[in-house]
Every structure is written in structure tokens, then in C-alpha cells.
């Protein structure tokens, strides 16, 4: 006892300034990250403004059950899942392909310029991206409409009014915005390939395509594995921002995701906002995400000896 008190005193004397550094960030993280976690108990209460988070009556699993039995349950779940898997596949394949190709090309100037250009859209805000999407795919005045008219002689139908087009527009614009950025990590990994391997392969008469297949690709396999597994870990956490901006009454059947549904129930102010119900849906989503990311990390550790933490 005496010992540990002494030790504590010594540590405090030595590190008190470091603790002082940590003070504000720690208070911040507790208030803005941990206190909202206690707010999750609302999922099991019936929230009334007068009683608040800690005083509203308990209702057990009623809110969760309500969600499970709602016709929206499978809809938002499958919408989120399909959009996410679709995006994951595209955002793996295209950046990897791009990285392999640009790595193979041996024109430094050309590489640098193209890379700068394909990285540019990453910095466009979601609002502007969706705005651009609407302008460019406008069936009359947009690039798409104008070109379609030039080829077919008639104007196309409005893509934003077509239910089936929503997912393609969503993913295509995501790919357009981010494939260049996503490829940076692969290009960096490819820069680490031992040039002697390439030379040896060349001496053996391998074509460039064969060298991609047998030298480049195996080298970036660990990177691909990690990013893929992490992508799977995030599969049910599609963000609110873009889907919400792209939503309209015609595509809502596909565009309502878990996150946008939480907003609609809890905060949109249309109909009666139900904090408890919305929190229950949010909690359900957060738990799925937690399980997925923990499993992904475990798998990652097993497969590649690397992990997120």
C-alpha cells in the first residue's frame, strides 16, 4: 500500500504536465462521446420532454420490437446492405485496377498530371456533388440529356424519377468522386515492389501483363485484404449525407437507409418525432456495426497478421 502510494506520487510528480495536456481532450471526449452513449437507454424508455433521458418510463424492448415488426425494417436493412455491397465492390475493383495500370505506365509527367486530376473530385462537398449530379444528368439541359438527344434524337426520361436508377447514380458518383483518392494507397504499396523482381521476370520473358499478375498483384494482396475486410466491417454504416440529399418521393423505396430513417423518425419534424423509437433503430444499427467491425478485425488478424488495433 505504502509502496503504491509512493509510486503514484512519483508518477504524478513526473507526469503531471502530461496529465494536464490530456485534461481538456479527456473532458471533451467524455462529454461529447461518452454521455451520448448513456443516451442510448432511450431505446428502452418512452421519451417525454418533461422527464428527459433519465426520467422517462421504461418500456423494455417495445421500441426494438416495433422496429422488427415494421414493414420498414427489411426495406431499410436491405437498402443499406445492397448499396453498401455494390459500393464496396466498385470501390475495390476500380481503384486497384487504376493503380495497377498507372503504376505500369512509364511516363512520369503523364502519371503526375492524371493523378492530380483524378484526385480532385475528392474535395468536392457532398452537397455540391449531388448538385453537379443533378445538373449533369438533367434530361434536358445537362450533359447527359444533350448527348443522349444528339444520338437518339429524343430526350431521355428523368433519371432522378426512376427508382431503378438511384443506386447506379449513387455508386457512379461515389466512384467518380473517390476512385482516384482510394487508389493512392495501392499506388504507394506498388511503389514498394522490389524492382529486381520485375527485372528477373523480364529476363524470364514475362510480359507486362504477366508481371502485373505475378509480381504487382501478389505484392499488394495484403493491402487489398485489409481494406476489403475493413470495408466489410463498415458495411451497415452507410452515411446519412448523400442518400438524404438524393432522396425524393420517387426513389424513396430504394434511397431510405437506416441512417436517413433514424433522422426521419427522430428529427425531421414531419409527423410526430419519436426520439425513443429513432434511438432504438440507431442502437440496433450501432450494435450491428460493432459486431461487424470487431469480427472484421479478428479475421484480419488471423489472415494477415495486421489489424486495425
Amino acid at each position: 500500500m505504502e509502496m503504491s502510494v509512493n509510486k503514484l506520487r512519483k508518477v504524478l510528480k513526473r507526469d503531471w504536465q502530461l496529465y494536464l495536456f490530456m485534461l481538456i481532450p479527456t473532458v471533451y471526449i467524455i462529454i461529447f462521446n461518452y454521455i451520448p452513449m448513456t443516451g442510448l437507454q432511450l431505446a428502452f424508455r418512452k421519451y417525454t420532454p418533461a422527464n428527459g433521458i433519465w426520467g422517462s418510463p421504461w418500456v423494455g424492448l417495445a421500441n426494438i420490437k416495433k422496429f422488427f415488426n415494421s414493414y420498414m425494417f427489411w426495406r431499410v436493412l436491405s437498402n443499406t446492405f445492397i448499396l453498401s455491397v455494390y459500393g464496396l465492390v466498385c470501390m475495390q475493383v476500380i481503384p486497384i485496377g487504376f493503380a495497377l495500370l498507372i503504376n505500369a505506365i512509364e511516363l512520369p509527367r503523364f502519371k503526375k498530371i492524371t493523378q492530380t486530376i483524378v484526385n480532385l473530385p475528392h474535395f468536392i462537398s457532398t452537397v455540391v456533388l449531388v448538385g453537379m449530379l443533378m445538373q449533369v444528368f438533367n434530361s434536358r439541359t445537362g450533359l447527359y440529356g444533350v448527348i443522349y438527344e444528339a444520338i437518339h434524337g429524343t430526350y431521355p426520361s428523368d433519371l432522378f424519377g426512376e427508382l431503378g436508377a438511384f443506386r447506379h447514380l449513387y455508386i457512379a458518383s461515389t466512384v467518380w468522386q473517390n476512385f482516384g483518392w482510394q487508389s493512392i494507397i495501392y499506388i504507394a504499396a506498388l511503389a514498394g515492389v522490389d524492382p529486381q523482381l520485375h527485372e528477373a521476370a523480364q529476363v524470364d520473358g514475362a510480359t507486362r501483363l504477366q508481371r502485373i499478375r505475378f509480381v504487382d498483384l501478389p505484392h499488394i494482396k495484403p493491402t487489398i485484404t485489409i481494406l476489403l475486410i475493413m470495408g466489410i466491417g463498415n458495411i451497415m454504416s452507410v452515411g446519412f449525407e448523400k442518400a438524404f440529399l438524393m432522396q425524393n418521393s420517387l426513389n424513396i423505396r430504394y434511397s431510405e437507409l437506416i441512417s436517413t430513417y433514424v433522422y426521419r423518425i427522430g428529427l425531421s419534424g414531419t409527423g410526430n418525432s419519436d426520439f425513443s423509437y429513432a434511438t432504438a433503430i440507431g442502437l440496433f444499427n450501432a450494435l450491428i456495426n460493432l459486431i461487424l467491425i470487431l469480427s472484421a478485425n479478428t479475421i484480419c488478424k488471423k489472415v494477415s497478421d495486421t489489424s486495425l488495433w
Partner: protein
């Protein structure tokens, strides 16, 4: 892979292969196809951007008639003049700049305050704090509890609502911590300590000057996030005076709402109806131009950030 023998019969060529790599027919086809694909992808990125810029400089008649493809048709600056008279854009710009500057400053300070102790191996409690900061990365209260907290703290409809949520990005903090850990040798801290340098002085005299690169990187990440943020504003603000640019952009671009009453010039206000489609292009350009202009010059920092982020301890 099968013609090892033929290579061996021509050992003289090996040098040539290394330097000039005379291409076989298959390789020549490959390089051509690869270059064309990369060029095509680059064009796909560029085309919509060029189209948007060109349309923003075209007369609204030609935009509405669907004549603009790659070049401005009936070039005019009229659209830009009209937008300059649109008050919301100015209010939005002012607020966004304010939120970005103050927010980024706070972000960087808090991130460093947190990353520095966590980067010191001999900091007792390092493990505890690491876990404390790590957990929110994989589990959070979510939209509704966040909103209730902001409401209870009376932060709704204040500029703080745009600055305080997300004041520390845990991801950026970990990147910073990793950078300090990997780039500043532990022996330096050791030597400084033996010379009687306190942890705080060590931070200001050594860590801070040696961390300029990472500070630039995270400051830019934070600044872009602030500039592009509409979610916090959308959830936490409903006073128009406080709206950042992105929220006005949402009104204009997504909801197609031009509020003619805020036009300074009544003549321009009357033209607004016919102009609406064209003005959207202008707004896109006006909102994105600053980032696009700066980006090519600071690209290497962003790319560096991705690299550091991908390195674990």
C-alpha cells in the same frame, strides 16, 4: 515465362532490357491500352467539371436549350454578376470561413494536446487513455442522443454547434500520435529529460517544431471537413444568419429554392426565374473554386496524410 533459354543465348541484351526495355508486341499493345484507359478515366473526371464551368459562363438561353457541352455558348459574365448580388451566398461564405478558421484552430490544438502525451512511451496511463479514445471510434450514441446533448447544453442555433461537435477527430489524433512516435526518436525525449527539460517544455521546444509536416496535414483535413460540412448545420441550426455556405447550396442546388427577396437588384430578381438552371452552375463553381485552386499545390501533404494514416504504430 517459357523462353528462359532464348534469353540465355543472348546475354548481351540484358543491359538493354534494364535501360530501354525493347517492347514485345504484346507489351506494346498493353501499354497503349493502359494509357488509353487511364486517359479515358481522366476524361470522365474532367468532362463534368468542364461542362459545369462552361455552362456557368453561358447565356441562360443556351443552357436552357441544352446547347452547352464543352465550351461556353454565348459567353457572358452576367450569371456571375447575378450571383454576386445574391446575399445568401455572401452570408454563407462569411459563416463558412469563420467556422473553418476557428474550428480548424481548435481542432489542431486539441488534437496535439491529446496526441502528444499518448505518443510518449513512458507516460503512465497511456494504455487507459488510448482505450478511452479508441472506443468512440467503433461505437457511438448516434444522431438522437447527440442532438439531445447539444440541445441540453444550449448549443443549438449558436456558432458553437458548428465548431464543437467533432472538435477532435480520433482518427486524425491517432495519425498524429503515430507520426510523433515514429519520427521523433525516443532518445531525444530521454536526453531532454536528463537535462532537466519538463514534458511541457519538451513539447514546445522539440515536438511542435518537429511536427510541422503532420500539423499541416491534419489542419488541411480538418479545414476541408469544415468547409464541406452540411450535416451539423442541417441538424443543429435553423437560423439563416448562421447557415454555412453548404446549407444555402443545398437550398439552391437540391431544393431549387432561389429566394428572390434577398436580391439587392430588383431587375436581377426578376430575371432569376429564367436564370435558375444556369445559376446553379455558377453556384457550384463559386463554392468549389477555392479548394480546387489550392489543391494542386498542397496535394503532396494530403497524399502524405494517407500514407501516415496507413502505417500502424
Amino acid at each position: 515465362m517459357t523462353n528462359i533459354k532464348t534469353e540465355k543465348t543472348q546475354p548481351v541484351k540484358e543491359n538493354v532490357i534494364r535501360k530501354h526495355k525493347p517492347l514485345g508486341k504484346g507489351d506494346r499493345v498493353f501499354y497503349t491500352v493502359a494509357t488509353i484507359i487511364v486517359l479515358l478515366l481522366t476524361l470522365i473526371i474532367l468532362l463534368p467539371m468542364i461542362n459545369v464551368v462552361s455552362a456557368s459562363f453561358s447565356s441562360s438561353a443556351s443552357v436552357n436549350a441544352g446547347k452547352v457541352v464543352l465550351f461556353p455558348v454565348e459567353p457572358t459574365l452576367r450569371n456571375y454578376q447575378t450571383i454576386l448580388g445574391y446575399k445568401s451566398v455572401w452570408v454563407g461564405y462569411r459563416n463558412t470561413i469563420l467556422y473553418t478558421v476557428v474550428g480548424t484552430f481548435l481542432n489542431v490544438v486539441l488534437t496535439l494536446m491529446c496526441a502528444y502525451p499518448l505518443s510518449q512511451r513512458r507516460f503512465s496511463g497511456r494504455k487507459f487513455f488510448s482505450i478511452l479514445f479508441f472506443v468512440p471510434m467503433i461505437f457511438s450514441g448516434g444522431m438522437i442522443p447527440d442532438y439531445i446533448l447539444m440541445r441540453d447544453l444550449r448549443l443549438l442555433n449558436t456558432p458553437w454547434a458548428m465548431i464543437i461537435p467533432g472538435a477532435i477527430s480520433i482518427y486524425n489524433m491517432i495519425v498524429t500520435r503515430t507520426f510523433i512516435q515514429n519520427s521523433i526518436p525516443e532518445s531525444l525525449a530521454e536526453a531532454a529529460r536528463i537535462d532537466g527539460c519538463s514534458p511541457a517544455r519538451y513539447f514546445f521546444d522539440f515536438v511542435l517544431p518537429l511536427s510541422k509536416a503532420i500539423i499541416a496535414v491534419i489542419a488541411m483535413y480538418y479545414a476541408v471537413a469544415h468547409w464541406n460540412d452540411y450535416f451539423n448545420a442541417f441538424i443543429y441550426l435553423n437560423k439563416r444568419d448562421l447557415y454555412p455556405l453548404q446549407l444555402f447550396l443545398r437550398e439552391i442546388l437540391v431544393n431549387s429554392q432561389f429566394d428572390a427577396s434577398v436580391m439587392t437588384d430588383p431587375e436581377a430578381a426578376r430575371q432569376m426565374q429564367g436564370l435558375a438552371q444556369t445559376l446553379k452552375y455558377v453556384v457550384i463553381v463559386v463554392a468549389t473554386l477555392p479548394l480546387m485552386c489550392i489543391y494542386p499545390f498542397v496535394q503532396k501533404y494530403f497524399v502524405k496524410g494517407v500514407m501516415i494514416g496507413s502505417i500502424k504504430e
